[in-house]
Symmetry: C3
Subunit: 316 residues, 3 copies
């Protein structure tokens, strides 16, 4: 009994708080595949500026995910690097935004906890493939929890998410052409943020982690912006950054983070960034009858495609 | 020639009949993750009471599945434990109930045979993950065969299964609040049975295999009943046991059958049982445009989630 | 610098052209799981007769896929056997046919390139299962790219593909009963060809590779024809060969190509061929709300089912 009290005290001591702070900030930065506490802090600030409520959810979510990894006894290095936090960050934020009702913060935090278990299960299942789990657990869990709203009174869906019949769908691409918005908002959409100041702060956060991260993010976003414009996507989506955020994540994953000695890594990353555009269009169509958002699924699919292909096409 | 005749004779001798009877009864009990001939027998009786026709389908289905495992040369211990029978039981029963038309018994038995092959394929594919296949083959095959009805005149769907457009769906949770029904019918729904006497017989069958099975079944069902009531599910579904049966299966899988030395197994089992409720709501929504029932998919997903996570979160 | 020029020159020399020709023709024949240059050549002729435009797309697609395998540094034997070409052939052809608009040849060739990477990724992911990837990459990529049409102006869907609401769907199986067409057109549908001359040429191509291939193709097609007729499928589909092509591919895969010493390989192949019929009906229903064609998914699912089951049911 004494020992347990002692350890539970030590659990709250200064070292633990410091560890939790650093791991959580890294967890936030891992959303964009970066492991850097300052980057995490600037991202948190960018979210807080946009909405203090959302910032609080972000912070609590990443703490929940990280603690589950720690208490659950996962590989210590993975927990310390924030790898149990980033799916919780995204799930907490997405559920806060796409649900409505007073109790949504509670569902969001429960979701942030469940997704940490889901991440652990995915890490186990994908171990043999050598591919990273990326944000797959967040996407699937969020889709599942959003669809419960049609069957449970307590869960309320945001009125923005409307299921539509594909046979009555007509495409209207008209809308404002604002290249400045398109350049800045893409990175914001990774964190569901739709204002330019947050976008600029996020670029600062990314550049802090290394000029290469920042530069590649700009290249990836530009590639997607141009591709989506020329393929004729909806302008309202393009210039809100909704065709850009998956491209940024993909180029960082493919050309920096999960690269080993490939000579054409930047070129392949740009091609993969362009490919996220039709994949986003396609996933939006698949989800139309359910009214769900594509989230970061295009990023996950395109990154798995390239990373998996590299194991066989070893010269690329 | 003589040898073959001899062996085909011995195939029909007393030992073979005994082996087939025991393995088949265990196959029936494996539907609720129990390996016990008496439990299997009581379950068969509970089905027979509800419908002798359905009881006969159950018996023939489990024999088909077990024989395919045996003749196919699968691992003898797995066959003897009934692991090639339970998916056939569920597939045979589900197809008999959700199809209509005179010939449905035949399609049901064909389905019971195919699912045994599907189980074998799944066992192979999932070997590396160390996760059990549970009732996944039954669910997927049943969904596939039910959807053939829209394209083939010979297959006729039960008029109860109606595809609906999510954009015209409105949730109406009103309905009778009958806690007694809710307590007893959950376990019956595992076998598609909707009468209280069968429910009570099934509880006896489960308690026969061990007080722990029975007690945990009651706890799991109660957890789901309360969760679904407070989350605001449809009363007509809750008190028919349709939010309970997946919870019973999940708590037995997570806290008893696939547990090794976890300290918090009961607590995790209860949480997983509660989680089946929103997952059921979500799967019902996914399937709405196709008019398909969720079957035991929530059980499979929640169990895989916990069992997979445990391989990484080793302290839980 | 000199070395690079030298190797790039040698890349265009006679040996390289010969290698590319042979590997590409084998790539075309691999669509029906055959590795034979003459078979590949006759198939290409059958496509050319039907449409020179489609023949050109076929040729360019298979060259693209094969070159990506070669330059990417994939296992040389796999590339030489045409295993990086067949998914490109099908993707290029399908996109040319199911898209409309002047630019569709360009999208088709881009698709043929992407699917080669997808094939590589699938080969990696499925390595541990010991199952072949078959035409899975082609199916998934084609479905994805066809659905982009609803969101991007540049991609235009063929007006034949119409999404329909399952709740308003009524089955009408009436239509011409033409057993000659049914016999010949099934094999043509593997290559999206709908004329009898091409069908007969394709049979010649298959028989050239071995009488067993040809005979089994006829048996598989007949099994599916009879099954679909007696199960009451739509006559317009049956006698266009749309229930037959998956059966032909499945029986060749199960009973010839991926067979090792199974005694009942032909019987199992016939059963698998029959099973493709309800699976086709089911996949058509799943895809109805999206207006997508089933492509060769029934073949992939039925073959995986049998090949996976054989790893566990070792006597069959």
């Amino acid at each position: 009994m004494f020992v347990i009290q002692n350890s539970s005290l030590s659990f709250l001591n200064r070292n633990t708080v410091l560890w939790l702070t650093l791991s959580s900030l890294k967890g936030i930065s891992q959303v964009i595949l970066i492991e850097n506490t300052v980057t995490g802090f600037i991202i948190l600030a960018a979210i807080m500026i946009s909405s203090p409520y959302l910032g609080l959810i972000t912070l609590l979510s990443v703490i929940i995910g990280t603690l589950i990894g720690k208490i659950g006894g996962a590989d210590a290095e993975s927990v310390n690097r924030g790898l149990f936090g980033y799916n919780s960050v995204l799930t907490g934020m997405a559920l806060s935004l796409f649900l409505s009702g007073e109790n949504r913060w509670f569902i969001a935090l429960i979701g942030a906890a469940i997704v940490a278990f889901f991440s652990a299960a995915m890490i186990h299942v994908m171990k043999n493939t050598g591919l990273p789990i990326l944000t797959f657990p967040f996407i699937i869990l969020t889709w599942f929890l959003l669809l419960t709203t049609y069957r449970m009174v307590t869960f309320k869906l945001s009125p923005e998410l409307i299921p539509q019949d594909l046979s009555h769908w007509t495409l209207n691409i008209k809308g404002e052409t604002n290249w400045y918005n398109g350049s800045v908002k893409g990175i914001g959409q990774i964190f569901f943020l739709d204002n330019n100041l947050s976008g600029i702060l996020l670029y600062i956060a990314v550049f802090w982690a290394g000029w290469k991260f920042g530069l590649y993010a700009i290249i990836g976003n530009a590639a997607a912006l141009i591709t989506s414009y020329f393929l004729g996507g909806e302008h309202s989506l393009i210039f809100m950054g909704l065709y850009g955020y998956n491209a940024i994540l993909t180029i960082i994953a493919v050309s920096i983070v999960f690269k080993d000695n490939q000579r054409f890594a930047l070129l392949v990353g740009i091609i993969a960034a362009c490919l996220t555009v039709p994949i986003t269009a396609s996933i939006d169509t698949w989800l139309l009858p359910y009214g769900l958002p594509a989230l970061t699924m295009p990023f996950v699919l395109c990154s798995w495609l390239v990373l998996g292909a590299r194991k066989v096409l070893t010269s690329l």
